[in-house]
Amino acid sequence: MKEDLPCTLVPVASLSGHEDRAWGVAWNPVKSLLSTCSADKTIRIYTYTSTPSPSFTLLASVPTGHTKTVRGIAWSPSGTSLASASFDSNIGVFQREVDEDEGNVGAGEWECVSMLEGHETECKSVAWSAEGNLLASCSRDKTVWVWEALPDGDFECMGVLMEHTQDVKCVAWHPTEEILASGSYDDTIKLYLDDPSEDWFCFQTLTGHTSTVWSIAWSPCGRYLASASDDRTIRIWKRVEEHKWACVHVLDGAHERTIYAVSWGPKPDNAGARTLGWLASAGGDGRINVWELEIEEDAEENSPPRHRLLARLEGAHSVSDVNGIVWCPREGYRSLLASVGDDGEARIWRISPSG
């Protein structure tokens, strides 16, 4: 099926090494580091050279200490800490042993500086707030925990949110404000705020998906939220009031099986003024889709952003499901997309004009 699309995903690198299914992938926001996590209980950290054709080298395979699958990972905004969510019901925080100076890539072992216990069953996802002072985690135990990162490397639990009626699959922080979103097996998305005089509370439940919400991604501008589901649709939610989001669009028919991951990249390098960034999705059909989203001119309050399918790739990981997908957030590298799959591989793609 040859489609006439404006862009193509060009393979840049294929990174093997995990001995089991790869579940998650995360770009370090400030350093040339990429990490992946797997059912083999390890985290692999790669370093890469500069564009246009970066090459990737394994820096470390971190044993983690987790006794079960490492399901999700997230870099802190400063790029110094890597958090992990594991089926062993713990959240790990890893840092490099000694302060490295850029270029001296061989220095320092990655060590676990904190193991956060509290969840009762498998942890599925972990996310740092924009300022890096808060960490959120979620689990099959139906709860979302908000942790405060203290200066001495300790973490204190600030709240346990028991709003979902089922397994919580994903958490994601708003890019600038302290607003947290979680997606669940109960088909809903919950949005939370911190009440300065009280506790964290849920201020809105987003309903519409007809099956599990696997992944959520805020737009870099913070006005939109994208959610991916087992119902094989992606919903775009828009901020219509200060604390109110509404579904403004449903991307239907783009996937044939469960959509496991969605990533909303920062404004691409050299992008037009109206762009909202690129949205990438991937799932059990092995397909990757990339859309360009733009603000509509003279837009009504509830109008969706203008969207255009830029690229589509079938069999991104051969016959395997694609479990994770994420845009590189670093300036100069924003055309790079990383994916991980059931084949245990991480693959790097560059979106380029077709032809």
């Binding site: 079960k68 399901r71 089926f87 099959r140 699959k169 059990g284 051969s318 499901d321």
Partner: protein, 181 residues
């Protein structure tokens, strides 16, 4: 697992004849390791519903371990749909009673058996026969959530129960005394 009895006196059905295409090969294959019937997922070998049925028919029922899923009519060939060109398999099974608390374990044993035996190119959906279970939606959702399945397979107690059910799977419809087991 649980001591609770869900169906104390199940109806037992006669075994059907082994799937014709496989039957001829069966004797030749008996000496081989059952898990290596198919090579790498890259090689294209057509698969049909009879072959899938052969793989799962002799899984033991978790509640009545001396009986197979075929003998209890939990699985049958007509309930399997293979769309080979689209690499898709749909397996429907029928719990013996609508309140069967073992349904998730039965479904999981079918999924694990197929995961271990079929080429990697196949995507498998498993569901209970519509109307056959009180918690139909819940059972179906759990069986098709690969994260829940992956987590279940890291639970040693559950894996132990699964392996008991799967130990007989390689009989592929042969009665116990006829097989080499």
């Amino acid at each position: 697992m649980s001591d609770q009895t869900f169906n104390a006196n199940p109806t037992v059905f006669a075994l059907t004849k082994s799937a014709k295409r496989r039957a001829a090969k069966e004797l030749l294959w008996l000496s081989q390791s059952d898990e290596s019937d198919y090579d790498s997922g890259d090689e294209f070998e057509p698969i049909d519903g009879d072959e899938v049925f052969d793989l799962i028919r002799s899984i033991s029922d978790p509640e009545h371990r001396s009986l197979t899923l075929e003998q209890l009519a939990v699985v049958s060939a007509p309930q399997i749909t293979v769309t080979d060109q689209r690499n898709h398999i749909m397996v429907e099974f029928t719990p013996t009673v609508p309140h069967c608390g073992m349904s998730t374990l039965i479904g999981l044993s079918i999924r694990v058996r197929l995961m271990r035996s079929l080429p990697a190119r196949f995507k498998v959906d498993i569901r209970v026969k519509p109307g056959s279970h009180n918690s139909e939606h819940g059972v179906n959702k759990q069986l098709n959530d690969k994260e829940r399945v992956a987590a279940a397979l890291e639970n040693p107690a559950l894996v132990e129960a699964l392996e008991v059910c799967l130990a007989t799977a390689s009989r592929r419809g042969q009665p116990v005394e006829a097989g080499p087991y």
